[in-house]
Every structure is written in C-alpha cells, then in structure tokens.
Amino acid sequence: MLIDLRQIHKTYNNGQPLHVLKGIDLGIDEGEFVSIMGASGSGKSTLLNILGILDNYDEGEYWLDGNLIKDLSEKEAAHYRNRLIGFVFQSFNLINFKTAVENVELPLYYQGVSRKKRNELAMSYLEHFGLADWATHYPNELSGGQKQRVAIARALITRPRILLADEPTGALDSKTSVEVMNLLTELNRTEKVTIIVVTHESGVANCTDKIIHIKDGIIGETTLNEQHQSSIFGTETIMK
C-alpha cells in the first residue's frame, strides 16, 4: 500500500481547540485515482495537507511507501515533498514574478538540476499541455485553466508518484474543469500516477475511480466508481 493512514487525529489549537480529524483510517494503493468529498469545514484540506506532509498530525500513524511519516525533520519532509509528491492547489499558487516556464522548473532548482536541463524539461511539459506559446508569460497574463495546467506541470516535473490536488477545478469554469480532469485522468492511466483529488463537485468526483466521503472528522462511506456513473448531473459534464 502506497498510503496508509491509521487513526490520524488533528486538532487546531489557535485559540479555541478545534478537533478536525478524529481518527482517519485510509489506505490508497499505487496507481489509484481517488477523490475526497465532504462538507465545507469537514477537514478535507487538513487531511490532504497531512498526506502531503505540508502539515503535522497529532496522533496515529501515517505510512508512506513503507516509511512512517512522523516527526520528520524539515529537511526530510522537504525531500519527500520534492521527490515523491506533487501538489495542485485551488488557487494555483504560482509565483507571480516568475514566468510559466520558470514556475514549472522551480522544483528542479531545489533538486540542484542545471538550468539548461530544467528549462528543457519544463518546456517539454508545457508543450505536452499545449502551453508552449505561453512559456514566457507571467501568471497574471494567463487564464485560470492555463494557470492550473502550469501548476500541474510544475507538480509533475519531478515525476512524483503521488499527485495531490485540493479543489483543482474550484476556480475554473465547467469547460476548463473538464479539460483539467481529463488531463489528470490521462496522467493516471498512462503514467500510473496515484492521484488524490479533494473536491466539492460531484462531477469532478465522478471522474475518479473511488470516492471517499469524509464527515465529522472521520471517513464515511467509500464508493467505488469504476463506471463513472455517480454524477447526479450526468456523466460528461461538470456542473458549476
């Protein structure tokens, strides 16, 4: 099992303590394409941040590819984030004073890859995503869908085994949402990247193979969705 969560607890202690995750048990295999759904404030982002080692948890065990992820040094955590995990955020989180291609190559900078090689690789990813013409544009010159594709390229350039996406279509219209989801699906099918998507949108969830519901800080029902028929709005669209 690539990802194995056992009784994960997380409490936020800013002022009033807030017990957000109350014992999460979750296993995800290599190559799965999973979505996490739940009400606003149910702890989806919190869970994803823990999965991505962006945040700590208080109790339980998180096994990632056979390694216990607990009390890691910042350096080790950075290493995992850099090599094993890619992130995509709802708000894209591109660095606005860097061009698209510079944003994409940034993870490789922290790996110590030479500028030339970085640039070549980043360009090939942008080309693959149909963004070659936009490589030297700054994020504020790109549309939402373009930005998200740049962000996905950045998440993938280190060839991570896991791609975590927190509401990747949250800021996109339905057409671009479909495009982005198709892109993720293709990645999962051809590159065998394990993908976990947090979403509000049933249409987005419907693109994935498994839908995990989170409620009151614990995992609720898990729906297998191999047929992609779960969307109450139909199968081919994502309703906004």
Binding site: D55, K75, R81, N82, N93, F97, P107, Y110
Partner: protein, 410 residues
Amino acid sequence: MRFDTDTYREIMDALTRNKRRSFLTGFGIFWGLFMLLFLIGGGNGLKQLLEKNFDGFATNTVIIAANETTKPYKGFKEGRSWNLQYKDIERLKALVPELEVVTPSLPQWGYTATRDEFTASCSAKGVQADYVKVQAPTMKFGRYLNQVDVAHKRKVCVIGERVWKTLFPDGDDPCGAFINVNGIYYQVIGVDVSTSNINLGGNNADEVTIPITVMRDILNSGEVVGMICAVGRQGVNMGDLEGRIRQVVARQHYIAPDDKEAIMMLNMEVMFSIIDNLFRGINFLIWLVGIGTLLAGAIGVSNIMLVVVRERTVEIGIRRAIGATPRDILSQIIFEGITLTIVAGLSGIVFSVLLLNLLEVISQHKAVFQIQFGTAISALLLLMLLGLLAGIAPAYRAMHIKPVDAMRDE
C-alpha cells in the same frame, strides 16, 4: 548553503522583478552610507579650509598691540594714545624668559605693487628674520628674509601667492626680478604660498614682506613698532604668561595695571583651542548623525524586510511545498539581503564620492573633501555587517514559514 550562478540568478530575479520592494529596502542603506561618508568628507574638507587660515602659525603665540588707554593712571588722563617700542621687546625678552621669540612687526595696508604693466594691491609688512618662528612660511620659490637682509637694510621682499600671480602671470620664478612697491624698488627673493590668514594684515597671499629696518626708514617710525609677536617655549601655557607680559608693558608706558583694553593681546592658543573644540564638536555631530542615519537605515531595512517576508509568505510557502528546505529559504533571504546591501551601499559610496568631488571643484581644490579609500571600505564592511544583522530577524521568520501558511493566505 550553496552559491553558484544559478543561485545568483534566482536572487537577481527575485530582486529585479520586485523593483519597488528592492528599491525601498535598498534606499535606507544607500542613504545611510551616503550621509555618513558625505558628512565625514564634508567635515574634513571644511576643517581643512578653516585650518588653512592658521597655516604655519605657531599655536602658542600672543600678539600684542597698543590701544588708547581707558583709565587714568599716574597723572595721565584716559584716552591717551601710546605706542609699543623696540625696548619693549628687549624688556620682554629679559623679564619673561619663558618666551622663546619676541619679534616686532610693522604692518601697512593699502600698498600697491607694480611690475611693468602689472599692478597688484597689497599689504606690506616689515619683520625680522626670526618672524618665521611665529609664522612658518611655505616657500614656493627662493627663500625668506634673513638677518643679513635686515641688518643691511636690503631692499628685498618676499611676496604672497596672489601678488606673485598678478605680477608674474606666466607663473615664472620671480626671484631676482624687481618690483615697485609704493615707489620703491625691491628685489624679489622668495614667494610664500602659505595660506594663513592670521597676520592681522589681511590675507597672506596679498602681502609683501620686507626687512623691518627698511620699513622703519620708509615710515620714519623711529622706536615705534606696530605689533609685537611673542612665542612661548615648548610646553609653556601662554595664558599663564599673559598677566606678566601685560605687567611688563604696562609699567613701561604708565598704563594702569588693570587697563586691559589699553594693551590689546590676542592669545592664539585660545583661538586655536576654540577652533579645535569647534571641530571636535562638529566631528562628534558628524559621527552621531552619520551612525544614527546608518543605524536607522539598518533598522529600517530590517523592518521593511520583515514586511517583505510577510508579503512573501505565500511565495515562500509555495517554495517550501515544492521542496525547498528551510536552509534554502534562509540562504535565499540572506543572500538577497547581502546583494541588496552591497549594491545599495556601493551606490551610496559612489554618490557621496561624486558629490564630494563636486565640492572639491567648487572649493577650487583648496581642501581635500574626498574620503579615503579605506574609509569607504570600512564603511561598506560596517554596512554589510549591519545588513547581515538586519537580515537575521526577517530571515529567521522566513525560515519558519510552513508550507501550509501559503495555502491559508487565500
């Protein structure tokens, strides 16, 4: 921490693509360094300009001159005119052994010196050869008056810089040439370019110095001398001698012992110490203001950097999320700080050097305003240290930004 061209480009990108931010941060440093160096250079130049007025002047000199009495004494009414005489010099020498030199001076104003078609207005002064002990000349050409000139009443003269330049516009060595001063021809034996302004006869540059014996004959002044200059021996405090000098002169001329105004005494030592204190004060102020500005600059930089780090929380969080270690972030912020400091600091140095140069040109190179290379370098080093210190708090804060912090700032 690694530092290669890649890191360098990363830093330059961050700095040059956020120009307003970089400018604001760097400006404090630029201004601090500029102010400090400009003040140091300007202060030094000003000091030199002022000191030129005392050039070569023995600091432990008292200048004595006669004035109308202000008190009746021994049957004489107040308001009586009297004159210093040669015998006062002998008496002072005999009665105040702490004095190394006592020498007369016969100053005259409103003279005209001519040579061929050239004319210069000047002052003239008759002195003895030992006047050099009072005011050391700076000979550009030739020599100063000597005892033989004085004893033989030679018609020779030493001329000041402006007189020389006016009468000898080619800038030639004038020694041996004759000039006419108020109808009498003198052979020029030297040019004194000392810039001293103290000789009460006006500017040294406008002066023609001749043997006192010659001046005495011209003026037909007999035993009368215009001024007496007394120089104390090494280590003697002229202030302590003033009373005795006054006493010796007063008794001879029947002046009331407490009639201070009748005997004008100018104690150069006091003047010098006033100037000295003035400059000590100015120097203190310069350092106070300079260091203050620099410190304020550093603190300002630190503050701005703190704000900048807060502003960059998302950026830093993103970097962390895609694999930057805290050390990567720390070194980035510190290198950015150092780069900014160096660029802004060097601009500050260049700007102050340029401005000081301008000052020097404006002052016609009469003084050196320019700071020394070492001063600039140490200021820069001091600045880099300050910049580093200023960067610590912001870098520390930046280092502790977590990846999740970036996500939260939506």
